[in-house]
Amino acid sequence: MNTTPFNTLSFPGKKNSGDSVVNGVDLSVNFAGIKAPNPFWLASAPPTDKAYNVVRAYEAGWGGVVWKTLGEEPAAVNVSSRYSAHYGKNREVIGFNNIELITDRSLEINLKEITQVKKDWPDRALIVSIMVPCNEEAWAYILPLVEATGADGIELNLGCPHGMPERGMGAAVGQNPDLIEKVTYWCKKHYSKPVIVKLTPNITDIRVGAQAALRGGADAVSLINTINSITSIDLDNMVAKPTVGHQSTHGGYCGSAVKPIALNMVAEIARDPATPTLPISGIGGISTWRDAAEFIALGAGSVQVCTAAMLNGFRIVEEMKDGLSRWMAEKGYDSIEAFSRKAVPHTTDWKHLDINFKTIAHIDQDLCIECGRCYIACEDTSHQSIAKLTEQDGARRYEVIEDECVGCNLCQITCPVENCITMVPQETGKPFLAWDNDPRNPFRVAS
């Protein structure tokens, strides 16, 4: 029998609480008018499929949730199996792939649960993801129903890369800027709260979609949705994974592996003069507080997480909030806003980089464990700028040939010892010179 006299052991600042102040730092955000105690939201996906999961997420301390995509009746039907992984060493999941569709539960149950959850958790962001066919009637029908739940906003799923495009929805809309604009317009017309447009990365230039969303009146964009993928082939049965009977299909790729792609796309929109102030909810492989901080630094106002939670459970948000707030305190950032977009001005086109800047590798001989990885990497595949020497006692010694080193970072990257190889900027005495103005550039701009 449980004899504890306590009903609850919660206390102010407890890591899984919904408090916005963590370690003395205010993590709250106001994203395009949607308020949340912290920027860590769960993306529209299996973890947000029903009230049971969403309540558990809020209990764990997530600042917001984007409810798994609602659609028209009848509800979608899913196949079995649904997920597959791209593994790194030691079964670490580098990338994750799914062929699941939007919610396979009825619209009525979802709406009822959303209403109740929002009522019970008024301080948390609750956004409803929606995908219905590309005609105004369909949107005009569902939007008032969603508005009636009291949810804080909607996210348009214009990116689902599998199953739905065949029905003229998801990526089929997201890959057509005119349709993005039109659907966004209908949503703003039939829904009074913030509209977030979720963009698909399965396009050539992400900025086109963001510009279309803005034209349609979007309050914000979120990105990226999943990337078309086949993670692996079962070589015994010659079929891709996940396997459905004797067949498979491409799915949507997410997880750590897509983070660099997502970061670039977020930066593209943040840097685009056409969308300079468009709020961005960053999505794509965010697993740690550092990932989140990087997205925020490149322009995101909130971040959405899915794969990391699916692999580890909701508790990961505790460390995300703790780590982020400690780092912010250390850096003197008193709000998310304070460092949002800080890295955007330093992200530019290649042609604006300083052609006269020079950095070269330096090997710390005390830290070197003599594995030779830097040597063979440089010798075989780069600029032959590392010398392999033998000490009198037979020990190996690797030294950078400074005159040959182009500062490519390869040796530093392949070195297994942290901080053993550092890149040291060199004093060249030369002024800043962008390629735009370089005399060697036949298309230079006269300065």
């Binding site: 464990i369 003599e370 297994p416």
Partner: protein, 459 residues
């Protein structure tokens, strides 16, 4: 072999351990890695360039490559990488003092973890789990040459396998009734379990072209002279079958015997409980044989095992790791003491030993003038091995140039006699390691092959 201990009780009678415990005491000393452990361990390897572990391996195994293959779950590929350099890679994985060879030079020792990749256990994983439908190495077209290999220990087996691969016909002559040499008879039982030595030789012979004859002892029913006449070339992998004597009176007393002879019996018995056990015993020596002897006697149920060495622990040829094994089994180590007198009881049996304390005086071992006695029912000597005197007595064999107690060979493993090669423990220089014997055999095979090809060209 252990008649000298006939007056002592058996392990069963001593009764320290029940049969199940005895069996456990002689099961795998270092249990193998599970497949999952092997994958995790393989991924610690940094795949060094010009890897120091390869430089440290006497048999030139491409360690980073086979570990990478394990990490990709390519076990047959890993095994082949190992076996093409060292056909006895399975036994070397068990008996190599990796802590002074590959694992000592692993760069991971210098990394934050200060812990090398477990190369020996990974090698064992690959060779234990390989599954070949047929022998992985194919023979070259027949050269029509026939080579005699004397001794089916690691050196001889390695030489024979490589010669067979190079297209030669090989006849092996083995004095014992089983092949394997020290792998079969000399290594501690818990290091070579499940009849591994026999299975490994069976696998090796699958290459074909090797005829193995038992009970053929050089100097007894075999002479070097005949071999030289009958074969195109001869390889001697004789090992060092004779144990060095203490040179004290009473050396033939019941209760005193060479450690290698006892271990040989221990390795071959089906009934550990029937082995004679000294409740109190002394082992004299400082090499792995001494450690193996002392540890195994403790594991059989001896109450008091004392290992005595005339110099300090740092001079012992047994590695620190081996010394630790002995200590963990309750073996007492006494250093700076040398045998002075064998103490006998009224029946003329060993009752103990008197030792003279020693010290190092400017590099010379000098008695201090002090003495002490240790009572014991048995004394095992492990003070080094030499040739079996008889083996090189025929007129031709007697001509072989020597380096001290070993056969002299040049860098091509050629002896002073034309077409006679030698390798393994019987030659100098030698570290007396299985892995080095394998390398000698392999290199000698290539030297023989080269010489035979040159002779053919000249003819």
């Amino acid at each position: 072999m252990t008649h000298s201990l006939d007056h002592l009780p058996s392990a069963k009678e001593v009764g320290t351990y029940d049969p199940a415990t005895l069996a456990h005491n002689f099961s795998d000393l270092h249990p193998p890695l599970t497949p999952r452990q092997a994958i995790i361990e393989s991924q610690r390897c940094l795949y060094c360039f010009d890897a120091p572990c390869v430089e440290a391996c006497p048999s030139d195994i491409d360690i980073p490559s086979f570990i990478r293959q394990i990490s990709e779950n390519n076990i047959n590929g890993a095994a082949e990488t190992i076996l093409e350099a060292n056909i006895l890679g399975g036994s070397c994985a068990r008996v190599c003092p990796t802590e002074i060879l590959c694992e000592r030079s692993c760069v991971r020792n210098h990394d934050a973890e200060c812990q090398p990749v477990l190369i020996g256990l990974l090698q064992r994983h690959a060779t234990d789990h390989m599954q070949f439908e047929s022998h992985p190495f194919k023979r070259a077209a027949s050269t029509g040459r026939h080579v005699a290999v004397v001794g089916a220990g690691p050196a001889g087996l390695s030489c024979a396998h490589r010669l067979a691969m190079l297209g030669h016909q090989v006849t092996m002559f083995e004095a014992e009734q089983k092949p394997g040499g020290l792998n079969e008879y000399g290594i501690a039982r818990y290091k070579m379990t499940d009849d591994f030595a026999r299975k490994e030789v069976e696998f090796l012979l699958e290459v074909g072209g090797i005829d193995l004859q038992y009970g053929q002892r050089l100097g007894d029913n075999l002479t070097l002279d005949t071999l030289r006449q009958q074969y195109d070339s001869v390889f001697l992998g004789l090992g060092l079958g004779a144990s060095r004597m203490l040179g004290l009176t009473g050396e033939d007393a019941p209760g005193l015997m060479p450690a290698v002879d006892y271990i040989k019996t221990l390795r071959q018995t089906d009934d550990l409980g029937s082995l004679a056990v000294a409740k109190r015993c002394i082992v004299i020596g400082a090499g792995n044989t001494a450690i193996d002897m002392a540890t195994q006697m403790a594991r059989l149920g001896a109450k008091e095992v004392t290992l005595v060495y005339r110099r300090g622990t740092e001079a012992m040829s047994a590695t620190d790791h081996e010394q630790e094994i002995a200590k963990a089994n309750g073996v007492r180590m006494i250093t700076w003491a040398q045998p002075d007198e064998i103490l006998l009881n009224e029946q003329g049996q060993v009752a103990g030993m008197r030792f003279a304390n020693t010290r190092d005086q400017e590099g010379r071992l000098t008695p201090t003038g002090e003495f002490f006695e240790i009572p014991a029912d048995a004394v095992f000597t492990a003070i080094g091995q030499g040739f079996e005197g008889e083996s090189l007595r025929d007129a031709t064999a007697a001509e072989l140039a020597r380096d001290g107690e070993r056969i002299h060979v040049n860098e091509m493993f050629q002896t002073s006699l034309p077409n006679v090669y030698a390798g393994g423990d019987c030659v100098k220089p030698g570290q007396d390691l299985t892995v080095q014997a394998v390398q000698h055999g392999k290199l000698a095979a290539h030297a023989i092959h080269q010489a035979l090809a040159a002779q053919q060209e000249a003819a």
